[in-house]
C-alpha cells in the first residue's frame, strides 16, 4: 500500500493535478504489481516564496 507525496509549486490546474494523480497511480501499480486501490497520493503545493534553489526563492528566479 504505497504512499506517495508529490511536492509542486502552486498554480497548476486541478485538471493537471488530477491527471497526474491517476497517471502516477497507474505507474506505481504496474511497476510494483500493486492494487490501485491500495495507493494513496497526497499533493503538497508550495509557494514560489517558499521553494529555493541554490539559496534563491523561485519567486526571485522567475523575475
Amino acid at each position: 500500500m504505497p504512499l506517495i507525496e508529490i511536492t509542486i509549486i502552486e498554480g497548476r490546474s486541478q485538471e493537471m493535478k488530477k491527471d497526474m494523480m491517476m497517471n502516477v497511480t497507474n505507474a506505481v501499480a504496474e511497476s510494483l504489481n500493486a492494487k490501485k486501490e491500495s495507493i494513496r497520493i497526497v499533493i503538497r503545493e508550495v509557494s514560489k516564496d517558499h521553494w529555493a534553489v541554490g539559496g534563491m526563492p523561485m519567486s526571485e528566479l522567475k523575475r
Copy 2:
C-alpha cells in the same frame, strides 16, 4: 523526543484537532515512557482535491 506528523483532510473543527493532539501525545508518552513535554505534533491538512485513493481525488469520490 518524538516528532509526529498527522495528515488529514481539511475541515475538522479545531476542537477535534486539539483533542487529537492531546490524546495522541498521551498515547505516545505512555507507550514509549517518554515525557509529554518532549513530544511535538504537527498537523498537515490537505484539500480533498489533493488527496487521491486509487488515482481518484477524494473530492470526486465524495460526489
Copy 3:
C-alpha cells in the same frame, strides 16, 4: 483516512512500538470519529547521530 508519521530515536523494542501504533490509532479514531481501519501509521527510526537539538547530535548529548 489519516496518515501518521512518527519519528523516534532507534532502539525501542518492537513491543513498545506495537503498543504505540495501536494506542495512537485508537486516539486518532476516537478524537476524529474516524474508522480505525482507515488509519495508517509509519514509524521512522533515526540514529542518535542523525538527530540534533541545538546543533548537537543526540549521540553527543547522551555522553
Copy 4:
C-alpha cells in the same frame, strides 16, 4: 521541479523500484508538462514492523 517521495514496504527488487522511478517520472513529466530532468524521486522503504493499518503492524497482519 517536482519532488516525489514514495513510501513502500521493504522487499521489492531494485529492478521493480527502478522501473517505478522511471515510470513515475514519465507520468509526472507528461501530466504537468515538466522537464524530466527537473523531477526528483526519493524512495523510502519501511519495515513491516513499522507500518500499521488499523493499529496492527503489517508484520502481524501478514501472518
Copy 5:
C-alpha cells in the same frame, strides 16, 4: 543534491525566510562540500493551531 525541508510557525516576514534559505544553503554547501545550485529548500509553514508541544497547541501556549 541535498533536499531540505524547514517547518516553522507561520508569520515570519519573507525577508527573514529569504535570508534563512540563503544562509542554510551556504551552511549545507560548505559543510558537505556540495554545489549550492544542487541544494533545494522547501519551507513548510504551520498554523499555531496545528503545532502542539506536550499536547497543547502553540495557539493556547501563547495566551
Copy 6:
C-alpha cells in the same frame, strides 16, 4: 521551534554531518532570531538506488 529535515545520499562522514547540523542550526537561529535549543534537525540518508533524477537512480548516473 523550527524542525528541519535534511535528505542526503548516504556515505558522508559523521564529522561532515555533525558540522552541517551545527552550521544549519546557527544559520536558522540567526536568520529567524530563534533560540538554538529550540531547533531540531533530522538527517535522512537515502541509498543511491533510491534517489532518482530524471527517472534514473543515482547509482546508475554515477557509473
